[in-house]
């Protein structure tokens, strides 16, 4: 009788533990992926390279915030640099999928022509066009 009861209890315990493991496995699967994709990543004093239409672009900032898989936000003093130009500005948003970067803060650009200062910019990298907004001064090299 006691043996029978012991066996029953052991079986019950095995079933409960198995069920508990199944629950843990299930609960670890779904929420983990959701949390990962929604998670914001922030890196300080960041620099990296991005491959785009205009070739390799080096980016850097005081603080990089990953908004989602396609969007990053360069917070504080930031720069974009490639073979065509060097853009030095503040608070630059970059859409990696659309290859667009922009900022509403004052910006300085150095290129083969000279030094350009503007109140903001929108860089359509896929179209090889940069729009400088507000008052613009472009001092040309001698």
């Amino acid at each position: 009788m006691i043996n029978y009861l012991n066996r029953k209890i052991i079986n019950l315990l095995i079933i409960i533990i198995f069920g508990f493991q199944c629950y843990i496995y299930y609960s670890n699967q779904k929420p983990l992926t959701e949390n990962f994709s929604k998670k914001k990543i922030t890196v300080e004093n960041f620099s990296s390279i991005v491959l785009s239409n205009s070739g390799i672009t080096k980016i850097g900032s005081e603080k990089l915030n990953k908004v989602d898989d396609n969007n990053i936000y360069l917070e504080g003093q930031s720069y974009l640099e490639n073979k065509e130009y060097k853009i030095y500005g503040k608070n630059i948003s970059i859409n990696l999928l659309k290859e667009v970067s922009n900022s509403n803060d004052p910006v300085e650009v150095i290129n083969k022509m000279g030094l350009l200062k503007a109140q903001g910019f929108k860089n359509l990298d896929y179209d090889s066009k940069i729009f400088f907004e507000g008052e613009v001064e472009f001092v040309i090299n001698k």
Binding site: S54, E84, N111, K112, M113, G114, L116, A118, D127, S128, K129, I130, F131, F132, E133, G134, E135, V136, E137, F138, V139, I140, N141, K142
Partner: protein
Amino acid sequence: MIVKYFLKVRWSLLLINKLIYFIIYLFFFSNLNAESYVRAGESLIWDSENKNYTANGDVEFKNDRFIAFADKMIANYVVEENEEVFTIIELFDNVVIEFKDELFKGNYAIYTRNDNIIKLTGEVSIESPTRILTGNELIADIDNNKRILNSANNESTVEVLLENNAND
């Protein structure tokens, strides 16, 4: 001994004085050879594929030859020895070009760097200290100091050669 010391100090002061003059001269000289620039009141678009810059709103362009003002400017460039150089500059609406003591006005202007010629069209005028001439087309040959002013009626074409020391 005192005389020798006095002369030494005097010589040093003279040297410092000359050095200061030289620095001041360099400062003014660099300002005289003022920089070339483009200023725009509203926006500037850099199209690196088509190799041009488009400036909008109270545009001011200065190079070593003239200063130009207009509502809009499109400047084409080429890359020479790893540097971008303007080749053709187009100015649109309310165009005013200051060249030495002359003032060219028109609705549209195009400047080509290769031959240093400015061509203005629309209601054009050329103002100098001594005269004002108006027409529909003005061709200013900067290198040869020659101006050709055409009116709407081709028969009344006026050609004006401006001498550097012209007083009339």
